[in-house]
Amino acid sequence: MLELVNVNTYYGNIHALKDVSIKVEQGEIITLIGANGAGKTTTLMSISGIVPPRSGEILFEGKPIQGMPPHEIVSMGLCQVPEGRRIFPHLTVSENLDMGAFLRKDASQVKQDLDYVYELFPRLSERRTQQGGTLSGGEQQMLAISRALMARPRLLLLDEPSLGLAPIIVKQIFQIIRKINEESRTTIFLVEQNANLALQVAQRGYVMETGKVTMTDTSDNLLANEEVKNAYLGMGE
């Protein structure tokens, strides 16, 4: 469904992604784990066109999307939940959600999706006229995910959904991520620091270090891998 071939991305002179190649299959949850500054967020930014790669190819459903402006990429069915939630604090919850459907013109289906999202997160439904900035961290994350769902993506890019949230909320959110994947067959590309949780929901994982993909395997194998255990799961001697 999505394929990155030797992608190189720079911030000015800083070489952030070095020949990154990743493959995502239809309908799966894959995760990209790694330490701070490994280039996980940059990978997502490159895919969604916000920080376009300097070389390499990104194929979405077989079509090259590198160098396309972000709004065209979104309209192809690829939507990102940016790191740190980034909801619009002065818009209400329902307005935030409407921003997610910005490119869509099918009002009746938008309405359907809105109902689906409210069903998924009843908390948001209770707070629909409240301003986004007044929500708690967990609610904001729910809103950010819902907002992306409103674009009806076939591929959802999730950047650190666990960031700064209480463990119990994180658990809830991961359950919902799995639910979204199962119910609407949305492919999910999950970027996480919390490698343990991420590998539990994902079928496959990629490990990233200083801008390079260093390892790739099924989640079970990665969870069992000694190196991964030591470096990311905090289970080393």
């Binding site: 916000i50 709004h71 619009f88 409407d98």
Partner: protein
């Protein structure tokens, strides 16, 4: 008690500071020194009262904040009028009736002033799109006003073009200029944007001032036609009244358009873009298009206001489009309340009417403006009327 003491201290301090200029007066012709002790007393009493008032207002403001936090604050009057339908509709009807009947009971001078107010309402609302909604600080807004005014003046002068033909044309021309300015400054934000737009405004003015063959330079263009009305001949009074109604209609059109924009998807996209560009991009908002649209729409209204201005005053020259004019429009928007339509109307009325009716104080105008702005920032940083949008709901 402590408050009184503090005010007393301030008063004494001021009396001491102003002593040399206010009390001693040297008469160099007769070589005498006049001691004006009464002035000192005036200053003392004045400062004492003002200082006391200042403290009182600050205390009240803090109380208001606390009340707001505990959730039992009374809505400010402006807000109440704008939000409660029971007050809102009669208020609109009253203002509407007032606006509609002005030419019947006011003399030509006052009708003219009200026409001015309405032109500034148009300008303010246009700038409100750019500054209030999209959050792009534009200090060269008057350039688009000049584009509109000059396009009508020149077309009328050379080809005798009709007001009603030029009006929409100028709108498009303004939008084109808006895009032309918007394109290079897309990546800029905040201070940088302000500087570039300021430069743009000055460039337009300087071109108009110096390109004699094109714009007739500083001498300006005279004898511009007023808008015709089905070829009916009118005397000066009727023309003034008719002009007023033309501007009123345009202002109402502006109000409707801006209100609709504000509560539309594109309006929300502007607000969203102001708050978080990356999130907007992730949602598929085309940053370039959205920003350019804000510039273009803002410029359209300014340009149309320019046409009206040229037709109303029948004479234009470059000094009408100085930087000061941009500042004035910005003050209208900031003072009235960024993003608020009612606020801008109120702001325009205050900014235009007060200097008109208090001509005796015209020398102190700048001081009063400055003082008013400082007070605004302290007591009502969001403007006279805080912006509010219709709560958006998706209907079944």
């Amino acid at each position: 008690m402590g408050e009184i003491l503090k005010s007393l201290k301030a008063a004494i301090w001021f009396m001491f500071l102003t002593f040399p200029i206010m009390v001693i007066k040297v008469n160099p012709i007769e070589d005498t020194v006049v001691w004006r002790w009464m002035n000192m007393a005036y200053i003392g009493v004045g400062v004492f009262f003002l200082s006391f008032l200042w403290r009182f207002m600050l205390a009240r403001r803090n109380q208001g904040k606390k009340a707001e936090e505990s959730g039992k604050a009374r809505m400010p009057i402006g807000q109440r009028i704008a939000e409660e339908p029971k007050i809102k509709y009669p208020a609109i009807a009253l203002v509407g009736a007032f606006a509609l009947t002005i030419p019947f009971w006011a003399d030509m001078y006052n009708t003219n002033i009200m026409t001015n107010v309405l032109i500034y309402v148009m300008l303010g609302l246009g700038l409100n799109i750019v500054v209030g909604l999209a959050g792009l600080l534009d200090l060269g807004y008057v350039a688009f006003y000049a584009v509109g005014a000059y396009s009508y003046a020149l077309l009328n002068h050379h080809f005798g073009a009709n007001f009603w033909v030029v009006l929409p044309m100028a709108g498009f021309l303004g939008a084109a200029f808006g895009v032309a300015l918007g394109f290079p400054v897309l990546r800029l934000r905040g201070d940088y944007l302000a500087i570039v737009t300021l430069g743009f405004g000055e460039i337009i003015r300087l071109v108009l001032e110096n390109w004699n063959e094109f714009s007739m330079g500083p001498s300006g263009i005279a004898n511009i036609d007023r808008p015709p009305f089905f070829g009916i001949k009118m005397d000066l009074f009727q023309k003034t009244d008719f002009m007023y109604y033309v501007v009123l209609a345009l202002a109402i059109l502006t109000i409707i358009a801006v209100t609709r924009l504000k509560n539309s998807r594109i309006g929300r996209a502007w607000i969203a873009l102001r708050e978080d560009e990356i999130a907007c991009q992730a949602m598929g908002v085309d940053r370039t298009k959205t920003k350019l649209m804000a510039f273009a729409l803002g410029a359209t209204w300014a340009s149309m206001a320019g046409v009206v201005f040229a037709a109303k005053s029948t004479f234009i020259n470059p000094p009408s489009f100085s930087f000061w004019e941009s500042v004035l429009i910005l003050v209208i928007v900031v003072m009235g309340g960024m993003g608020s339509v009612v606020g801008v109307i109120l702001g325009a009325s205050i900014i235009v009417l007060l200097p008109e009716y208090f001509r005796e104080f015209s020398e102190y105008r700048m001081i009063l403006f400055g003082g008013a702005m400082v007070l605004m920032m302290v007591f009502r940083p969001t403007g006279i009327v805080t912006a509010m949008r219709q709560k958006y709901t998706i209907h079944k």
